[in-house]
Symmetry: C2
Subunit: 139 residues, 2 copies
DNA sequence: ATGCTTGCAAACGGTTTGCACGTGT
DNA sequence: ACACGTGCAAACCGTTTGCAAGCAT
């Protein structure tokens, strides 16, 4: 674990410091659980684990991770950002308007259609974001 | 113009006050030009036209318009919101990463696929947002 | 040793709010 | 007349930054 973590950081040109390692571990630990953390949540998690970082450091590290393509930043609610480990597949999200719960999905057909649409307007598709606002169907 | 405007406001349960009328006019005047305004831009436009509103009022009015489904709010850049008149068709946007220019598009096939995907996860699709980040293809 | 990193506190920028005054119906 | 709307300035809150001290290499 630490070996791989250190390598990830090295490759990104970032020194393997404690805050960075701890933050990366939190992100990895919850990877696949469809969890998306705010900087504040990561900060509190660190404090809970008896590791006192500054909130500013969490922001700085997350920004560095974003630039290094280690994490991806989303904005499901308009006033705060959430982060998750980068998924090379680049999945999308649906957010339950009642509970805030997020579900991930991936659809190749939509991606193709998007590239097509961009091309039709003389553009090349660099990146993309879909957010579905949904609610549970009651049976 | 004013007649229709007043009716729109009435229907939303909003008194036809000067700030509201002026803001609605600005939004209508640029409708279809693929322009999306920040609260600040609308505020400055009003001041330019020699009508002094408070920026706070612009925000309040835009929020009321959003609740009344008269306008839609988007977040193309993470730190500021932009507003445009509500389009019943609910079009989507591509944003040029170089110029910030936005282009609107609509694709029924993608919408259908989205409803399908939501349903597959036991959800009903209430709303949706697609943003394509693109750059001009150089010929 | 040296330059990247960190923590703290202060600054920032977009947005919201409290309050006393103004305006539409 | 009365409730609703407005302007102003201050508060808010997530995020960023300057700076002096700390750590990885």
């Amino acid at each position: 674990m630490s070996d791989k973590t250190n390598k990830n950081l090295k490759e990104a040109g970032l020194k393997a410091t404690l805050p960075r390692i701890k933050i990366l571990e939190i992100l990895q630990r919850t990877s696949g659980t469809e969890d998306h953390f705010t900087a504040e949540e990561i900060y509190k998690e660190l404090v809970l684990n008896n590791y006192d970082v500054g909130l500013a450091t969490v922001y700085r590290v997350l920004t560095q991770f974003e630039n290094a393509r280690i994490v991806v930043k989303h904005q499901f609610e308009s006033n705060k950002s959430v982060y998750e480990l980068n998924d090379p597949l680049n999945h999308d999200h649906m957010v339950c308007v009642d509970t805030g719960e997020t579900t991930e999905f991936y659809d190749e057909e939509i991606k193709n259609k998007q590239r097509e649409i961009a091309a039709k307007h003389g553009y090349e598709l660099l990146d993309q974001s879909i957010v579905l606002y949904v609610k549970k169907v009651k049976k």
